[in-house]
């Protein structure tokens, strides 16, 4: 599908219309900041969290309404898209933000940091994430990532009194700035070759231009010229940093460990959602077109290796952790590896439909991870990292919290009947379906699936360790005891309920996430693309 190249004059009504969710959320962020001014002294800011949640709900509903219009257009002269994909990822980010705000309203006062900026920063970060999700241009993408990152750097250092928190923030900032620089350099290189920053135009050139592709004697593209290859790799490296792929993951455990726990949960989930939205836009619209064989010089082999390394090292490193937040950090790294699987499948077999697993996985992952971070947040003593031993006897002390935590662990481990299982199922299904369709090297994909799924058994080990400590050990010393606030209880219950409900009735969400990836604008396939036989029925839900 050709990009719509007509250029409208000025800013049109439709331009603003398509960005309404982001504007609503920004507005509420400013409102929260404004209200914060009227507060002196400590405490009493919980209602700001309520306002933030209200704004997020409003924005999320607007995103849903936009999606329901079922057609796509481009905004601000091809700078952003109004399409199903963007709105779906907006909805996921908003969901993560709502849960974070609910968790924070109880967490922050407990840690003497009850300040309204937290909610404002969350809302601004969400605005940035929405920009990433709707980006149609490398500039928009970059702006979105930076808006998001700046807010998240501050969130990481939100405990002003804590040296840990400051360290986390600084680490994140320095490494984040480095990755930003790498991305900018990559964008500059690409711009130098293609003379454009529009994703769709780059995509067109990637398919046809001899300045970008190397062609063999028969006229088939076999790889990339060095310059665009380096540019692309640099952008991928930067995105890999944002979503914490091995070997760009070093910051994640330290930062999660030092940040306020709800903020860490937000980083582990929402930032990753936005990162994958951006990655999908890049890979499906801009970097398409040459044969995506495992042996070629495209991004498929790069992601193949990254996914394998990420899954195996992420799981292996998580096994040896003693601190729970670090364990969750490494497990979230491993999850990023699983999330790459559908992308590899889509690149390999050339059907973006395979990406239908990504939004589903992100929802399941968000529910389980934020829920787990939420529970940890309430177990936490002042500025002291939780270890497995702090969970001893939790099953007796707080049966409902322990039961919810068990659900999160089971879901994260990918055991039915939870959303996490179905998410992993869809991801591996995408890989194996692609193996049957692609021309060459399908067996590599089957090996990837087998290795990945075996590594997930290692994951089962450390997730179950949590359950072991909660139920199978008696409490030795006086463990932390706590009173769960109402909002946090609601958030944890929502996560637990969602994890189970989506595992038992996954059909609706699976269909929606499939449609949302199909509806991504300006991809070579477009909504009417031929989809593989195995996937054809997913559109209508017919049988």
């Amino acid at each position: 599908m050709m990009p719509a190249m007509e250029i409208a004059a000025g800013v049109g009504r439709f331009d603003l219309h398509g960005l309404t969710p982001g504007m609503i959320i920004t507005g509420f962020g400013l409102l929260v900041l404004l209200l914060e001014i009227f507060h002196r002294g400590r405490g009493g800011r919980a209602y700001l969290g309520g306002i933030a949640v209200f704004g997020l709900v409003l924005g999320g509903m607007w995103a849903y309404l936009l999606w329901n219009q079922r057609f796509s257009w481009s905004l601000f002269r091809m700078m952003a898209y109004q399409d199903g994909f963007g709105q779906a990822f907006t909805a996921i980010v908003v969901m993560a933000a709502i849960l974070t705000c609910l968790l924070a309203t109880d967490y922050l006062p407990r840690h003497q940091s009850d300040r309204g900026e937290f909610y404002a920063l969350i809302l601004f970060a969400v605005t940035g994430m929405i920009l990433v999700a709707v980006a149609a241009d490398l500039v928009t993408l970059f702006l979105g990532i930076e808006t998001m990152s700046l807010a998240v750097y501050v969130l990481a250092g939100f405990f002003r009194h804590s040296r840990h928190s400051a360290e986390a923030s600084l680490k994140y900032l320095i490494l984040g700035a480095l990755s930003t620089a790498i991305m900018l350099y990559g964008i500059a290189l690409l711009y130098g070759v293609t003379k454009t920053t529009h994703l769709a135009s780059i995509g067109q050139l990637f398919q046809e231009s001899p300045a970008i592709c190397r062609f063999n004697a028969e006229g088939f593209a076999v790889g990339l010229q060095p310059l665009p290859l380096i540019g692309m790799v640099m952008i991928l490296v930067s995105m890999g940093f944002k979503i914490a792929l091995v070997p760009f993951h070093m910051w994640a455990p330290d930062v999660y460990d030092g940040s306020p726990t709800p903020a860490a949960g937000f980083m582990a989930t929402a930032v990753k959602v936005a990162g994958f939205a951006g990655l999908l836009r890049l890979l499906m619209i801009a970097f398409v077109g040459w044969p995506a064989r495992i042996s070629s010089t495209g991004w498929v082999p790069i992601l193949f290796v990254l996914a394998l390394v990420t899954i195996i090292l992420g799981n292996a490193a998580a096994i040896v952790q003693n601190k729970l937040k670090r364990m969750l950090a490494y497990s979230s790294i491993a999850h990023a590896g699983y999330l790459l699987l559908p992308l590899i499948a889509a690149g390999y077999a050339g059907h973006q439909a395979f990406n239908g697993a990504v939004p589903y996985y992100l929802v399941a992952y968000t529910l389980a991870t934020l829920g787990a971070f939420g529970v940890l947040g309430y177990l936490e003593k002042q500025d002291q990292a939780l270890t497995y031993d702090d969970l001893d006897g939790l099953g007796k002390r707080h049966p409902w919290v322990a039961a919810s935590m068990t659900i999160f662990m089971i879901s994260a481990a990918g055991i039915p009947p939870t959303a996490g299982f179905f998410a992993k199922f869809l991801a591996f299904k995408a890989v194996i379906d692609a193996a049957g369709i692609g021309q060459f090297g399908g067996v590599y994909l089957v090996v990837l699936a087998a290795l990945g799924i075996l590594a997930s058994v290692a994951g089962v080990y450390y997730y179950l360790r949590v359950v072991v400590h909660m139920y199978m050990r008696e409490q030795h010393q006086q463990g932390p005891s706590f009173l769960l606030g109402r909002a946090a209880a609601v958030a944890i219950a929502l996560c637990a309920f969602g994890s189970v409900a989506l595992g038992i009735l996954p059909n609706r969400l699976a269909t929606l996430s499939y449609i949302s990836t199909i509806e991504m604008a300006d991809t070579p396939e477009g909504p009417e693309a031929i989809v593989p036989a195995g996937m054809a029925r997913t559109t209508g839900g017919g049988d």
């Binding site: 089971i410 055991i415 039915p416 009947p417 299982f421 199922f425 591996f428 299904k429 194996i432 379906d433 193996a435 049957g436 089957v446 699936a449 087998a450 799924i453 075996l454 997930s456 058994v457 089962v460 080990y461 179950l464 359950v467 072991v468 139920y471 199978m472 050990r473 996954p506 059909n507 699976a510 269909t511 499939y514 036989a533 195995g534 054809a536 029925r537 997913t538 839900g541 017919g542 049988d543």
Partner: protein
């Protein structure tokens, strides 16, 4: 009849779950109420499972008792996953076994578990739902869900209420099972992705998998077989079992031995074997060899155990080796016997664990040396214990005998248990190989060893002088304990005295499975084979001459038919990746090309099978062969052998 208008299967599957929800609503300090509610709800589930047996049509070998309205509905239409349940002759009795054992388990735990009673009962009932669902599922996705759902409650039962090394045992159990089942998931996904339509139903996956090439089949079969072999457990993969059994509380051990292990053998029968017949032909002797090693190794290790519980655990390894050997024999007797032995083992080993739990409750000891001479102190219990031990050892008239006997017969007549081309046979040109007889003969050693270790255990525990002073004060079985021990004894007798009640319902399913595995006519071929045996013995010339002609013309009898490639040839094909017979037939324009049609018509033949022939001809000859065979079979038949042809 009004009976058939009720979705019995769904009621049975989700009955325990309803019970668990009910228990969840009761305060945790009302322990008596909790226990009674759990017991009566599981008893109710058993009552609900009885109509299944009554409504089951023994003449049909396919899946039945599905209530189309409620039990064959779309669940995840996006993937073609359906909520589809039904039973065949094999799963029917395993379901009844599950519903039979669970109330006994709950009854046995009235005293044994005092800590977190509510959670314990919920775990047991959820586990029951998982097992029943896995047995009844006719959709592979649904099966996998239930298969995994079983894990969590069992893990908790071992890990929370188990013995001193419970955490180690629980995690080991979980990880072992997970490794196998995730690879099976990849294999399921692969087969599914090869299908023409999005459908996870069992029969569709059978047909799809059979259409795959030889090499793919081999890998996929290995993935499935690994999952099931871990669960069974087969010889080198059995190390989790003694740990899990020894550490688990009584009810956990009973369920584990009684039903959970059968999931492995059931998985072989329901999934691994019918899906990959080509690979099965290659792998069967090797798996049977592992089973044989398990039979003898398990028995020898059981012999030297000082702990009663681990003795019973290793005896499970040995007994389940028999089951697998029977299945791998690929004869009607073998598969029927294996299935029967699953039931018998469930009853007898479940009973043994209940007895061990009985003693443990009183003495908190499990070593054989801690007992001795208690027959004088607790005569009623000792009588029950003795009967159950004898049932486990395979005494005729009790449950164990029929199954083991059928398995040995099946193995000795097998065409699949040989490692090379069959040149040598006791019956000349036609017949099972020498190795089949070796398999059966060595397995018989397992029967003898079973008698040795079980009876020596009984002797050391029940008879002789009362060594320990504490043993003189043991109280005999209370009415509650009799209520859970006596049904086991009755079931052992029922299985031993009326095996026909079970085999008559299993046979048709066995026949159909063999048809799916080996192509149409497998049942008749075996019957002809029996006739051949009779001929060799009695020189009943005339009918057999016809049968021989038949064989020559049709290239029947896989093992030494002219066109047969032999196992080595098959190996070569698998390794070189030749297309499977289905592909060949499709390429030649033969056979039924409708992949989604009636399975019975389009099952690929076994190598050199009958389906190369025109339909009518095959049918006639088969009918003739059957009639001819009938008279001779009677002479060859050994009593209790199910050789009647279904239909």
């Amino acid at each position: 009849m009004g009976l058939s208008g009720v979705p019995w299967l769904s009621l049975v599957i989700f009955g325990p779950l309803l019970g668990a929800i009910g228990i969840g609503l009761i305060p945790r300090d009302q322990k008596a109420l909790l226990r009674n509610l759990a017991f009566f709800s599981s008893l109710g589930v058993f009552a609900l499972s009885i109509p299944l047996v009554l409504l089951f049509d023994p003449a049909r070998g396919d899946f039945q008792l599905t209530m189309q309205q409620f039990e064959n509905v779309a669940w995840i239409p996006a993937l073609g996953v359906r909520y589809q349940v039904g039973v065949d002759g094999i799963s029917l009795f395993l379901i009844v076994l599950t519903t039979f054992l669970t109330p006994l388990c709950i009854l046995s735990a009235y005293r044994a578990v005092e800590d977190r009673v509510k959670e314990y009962l919920i775990a047991l009932l959820v586990l029951e739902t998982g097992m029943l669902g896995a047995l009844a599922a006719l959709d592979v996705f649904l099966f996998y869900i239930f298969w995994e759902v079983m894990l969590i409650p069992m893990y908790l039962i071992i890990g929370v209420w188990g013995g001193p090394r419970r955490r180690y045992a629980a995690v080991k159990f979980f990880l072992y099972t997970m490794v196998g089942s995730v690879l099976m998931l990849v294999a399921i996904l692969y087969v599914y992705s090869q299908g023409e339509v999005a459908d996870f139903s069992v029969e569709h996956l059978w047909a799809t998998a059979q259409g795959l090439g030889g090499r793919a089949q081999l890998w996929l079969f290995l993935a499935f077989a690994l999952a099931f072999a871990i669960k069974v457990p087969l010889f080198p993969l059995h190390t989790w079992l003694p740990d899990a059994h020894v550490e688990a509380p009584t009810a956990g051990s009973v369920i584990l031995a009684g039903v959970l292990l059968k999931m492995g053998t059931f998985g072989f029968v329901r999934y691994a074997m019918p899906m990959f017949p080509e690979a099965l032909q290659v792998c069967a002797p090797y798996i049977a060899l592992l089973a044989l090693i398990g039979i003898i190794y398990g028995a020898l290790v059981a012999w030297v155990q000082s702990d009663v519980k681990s003795l019973v655990a290793y005896s499970s390894v040995s007994h389940l080796g028999f089951v697998v050997l029977g299945l791998m024999a690929l004869t009607p007797q073998g598969i029927s016997g294996g299935t029967f032995l699953m039931l018998a083992h469930g009853v007898s080993t479940g009973g043994l664990f209940l007895c061990v739990g009985f003693l443990y409750e009183r003495r908190h000891r499990r070593l054989i040396a801690d007992f001795g001479g208690i027959a004088r102190v607790v005569p009623v219990f000792s009588a029950i214990f003795l009967v159950i031990v004898l049932a486990s050892a395979g005494l005729p008239g009790l449950s164990g005998f029929v199954g083991e006997f059928l398995v040995l017969i099946g193995a000795s007549q097998s065409h699949s248990l040989h490692f090379g081309p069959v040149e040598y046979s006791f019956f000349g040109r036609v017949g099972p190989s020498v190795t089949s007889f070796l398999f059966a003969g060595l397995a018989t050693l397992g029967v003898i060893l079973a008698a040795l270790y079980l009876l020596s255990m009984v002797r050391r525990m029940l008879f002789g002088p009362v060594v320990h002073e504490a043993n003189t004060r043991i109280s005999d079985a209370s009415p509650r304990e009799l209520a859970y021990l006596v049904p086991v004894v009755l079931a052992a007798f029922f299985l031993g005295i009326f095996p026909g009640f079970f085999t008559s319902r299993i046979e048709a399913t066995t026949a159909r499975l063999l048809e799916v595995i080996e192509g149409p006519g497998a049942w008749e071929r075996t019957e002809e084979f029996l006739a051949t045996v009779a001929e060799d013995r009695h020189s009943a010339a005339q009918p057999i001459a016809n049968a021989s002609d038949d064989r020559d013309q049709t290239g029947d009898f896989r093992v030494n038919a002219p066109g047969d490639r032999g196992p080595q040839g098959r190996w070569r094909e698998l390794v070189q990746g030749n297309p499977g017979p289905m592909i060949e037939r499709l390429a030649q324009g033969q056979g039924d090309q409708d992949l989604t049609g009636d399975l019975r018509r389009q099952v690929p033949s076994g190598v050199g099978g009958r389906s190369d022939l025109p339909e009518a001809f095959t049918g006639d000859r088969l009918a003739e062969g059957r009639l001819l065979a009938r008279g001779s079979v009677d002479q060859a038949r050994i009593e209790g052998l199910p050789v009647e042809v279904p239909r």
